[in-house]
Amino acid sequence: MAGDLVLSGLTKRFGAFTAVDDLDLTVPRGAFFALLGPSGCGKTTTLRMVAGLEEPTAGSIGLGDDDITGLRPYKRPVNTVFQNYALFPHLDIFENVAFGLRRRGVKEIRRQVEEMLELVELVGYGDRRPAQLSGGQQQRVALARALINRPEVLLLDEPLGALDLKLRRQMQIELKRIQTEVGITFVHVTHDQEEAMTMADTIAVMNAGVIEQRGAPAVLYDLPATTFVANFLGQSNLVAGTILERSGEDLVIDAHGSKQVVPVKRSRVADGEVWVGIRPEKVFLARAGSETDTGANSLRGGVVTDVSYCGVSTQYLARMPWNQELTVFEQNTGARDTFAVGDSVDLHWQPSHTFVLDARQDATAGVEAEETG
């Protein structure tokens, strides 16, 4: 489609190390697109190739009908909000924002800069130097400096990474508002899965130089395609199982002696060894031996080993007979039983919330990654 950003077979090697590996990605025009992945997975390198600051080893970059792979950075209709802003310290805020317009010989600079400073709520700061602004204000100057050029694609490299949590949440809402207002394609790089999910309309989850999965946040969360996505985007319980048979639209899976039913379309594999996946908040905890809803999947014989009260919810850890600890989030609605450490419990959940992944994938992929970000 016109104006889409299309990466095909994009590869970048540094010596023998492959930072970005044969990446195919289409970013629709006007999208708020998040590139999410742990630190070191190749996000910045990908962005730099789109900006023209890094030359791809192989592959091509298309923007609309044009191939921009070989174009010099200053010839691309693409602007970047750099990871640590990279504001010009020798210029005041006005001149920082005006920089791109001056280079292109645009008229009416003053009016445009003032409009832009208004958009990012920095009216009256024009004659200050970057060093005189707070981190959040500098971030907005960096945004204004890039946006004023009305690029076809705006690249944002961890734009909120240097801000404290409260300011970050505030700026997430702000960025989203601005993107809606200007309608420019945003490619937003982050290692913060919550940030990606709240802001983007499409997320591509990246790991070790490749895209693991791409889709709307709710889709990715509901039906992760790999163990990495299952663990990196929120949390998952992954229980080992074997597919026994297919019955109509469902698969029947044996997991440590209990039968699990999963819709065929929620499984990545048709037979053999699998991971049966379930999100902690989709699991109900019940006293051992209690009745289940008909059709629910269950795992029985758990013992509560940890209870963490978090206000809106309580997080339980239950040790299963096969020595695996599973996580359960119970909403504190007041209508549900509460449990203490040592209680015997069963775990129940709906087949329609279950997902099935290939057992050859590492069940712990992406678990710690978010922390190191």
């Binding site: 900006a51 200053y74 990279a86 920089f99 280079r103 050029n149």
Partner: protein
């Protein structure tokens, strides 16, 4: 420390401040004494010598008369070498900047793993004395030296053209001797520039030349200012290069001051020294103000 002392007893600020101040003074003491002894005392002695009655001699002593006429006489008699010194220093600074900027730029951005070697080469001349190096320039530029022969062969110099004992030789020697003082501060300020700022210039539609003009050059101004000062000031007061590579026609003010002191004309020599110093201070202040580096440095 601060946290502990705040827990009990008097506020930390009251107990700590005098101690800190004392330490600061203690640290200032050795340098301060040194400067008092070897800078302030000679300066006062120079200032008073410049006001001695010139009718005295070293042997008979001078009458301290507040003889301001010394300055008028000195300036009248030595205006030409004085102006020449300023002109040579200016030329030297300009050549050092023209040669030094590309060199410093290449070392800072393009030298890769050769960076340390190249820096060492810039400093290498300092391993030999200033005097010896200038003497070897004398040989190099000599009438039957390789350089003159080559230039004659290329018809750049006429058959009886020479290099030694010309203005070219003096300014070349000065440029050579002070080049490292230009390159090092330039390198230091170029090296410090965050590479992402240069990338940001490219990202914001500035081509390589424009990025240099609007980003790299302004950010390297502290180095330009430091380098030009470190070159101009010593070049203006230099007399070795004019002595060894020039003739009386290339005499700089340093040569005259040296000759006057040697001849025992202390009051005139002192008056010239003070004038040179004052001129340089005024020029430097004016220059720094004009370039407006107060907030860049």
């Amino acid at each position: 420390m601060t946290a502990l002392s705040q827990l009990g007893g008097p506020p930390a600020a009251v107990t700590e401040k005098p101690g800190r101040r004392f330490t600061a003074y203690l640290l200032l003491l050795p340098g301060g004494l040194w400067l008092a002894l070897f800078f302030v005392v000679p300066l006062v002695s120079l200032l008073s010598a410049s006001l001695y009655d010139p009718s005295g001699t070293v042997e008979t002593g001078y009458a301290v008369t507040g003889h301001w006429q010394n300055y008028v006489d000195a300036l009248q008699d030595y205006a030409r070498p004085f102006g020449r010194s300023m002109w040579y220093a200016l030329l030297t600074t300009a050549f050092c900047l023209l040669l030094g900027y590309p060199l410093a730029y290449a070392i800072a951005f393009k030298s890769g793993r050769w960076k340390n070697l190249m820096l060492a080469l810039v400093i290498a001349p300092f391993f030999t004395s200033f005097l010896v190096r200038t003497l070897s320039w004398k040989l190099l530029l000599g009438d039957n030296g390789v350089v003159v022969d080559t230039l004659k062969w290329l018809h750049i110099l006429g058959p009886d053209g020479r290099l030694l004992a010309t203005t070219t030789a003096v300014v070349t020697g000065l440029t050579y001797n002070f080049l490292p003082f230009m390159v090092l501060p330039l390198y230091a300020s170029l090296e410090k520039i965050d590479h992402r700022l240069i990338e940001a210039g490219g990202d914001l539609f500035a081509g390589p030349v424009t990025t240099f003009r609007t980003v790299t050059l302004p950010l390297s101004m502290p180095g330009v200012v430091a380098g030009t000062l470190l070159t101009f000031i010593p070049a203006a007061g230099d007399y070795i290069n004019a002595e060894l590579l020039g003739t009386p026609q290339q005499r700089m003010i340093g040569n005259d001051i040296q000759n006057l002191f040697a001849a025992g004309a202390h009051p005139t020599a002192a008056a010239l020294s003070v004038t040179l110093m004052a001129t340089i201070v005024v020029l430097v202040l004016f220059y720094v103000r004009r370039v407006g580096t107060e907030d860049l440095l």
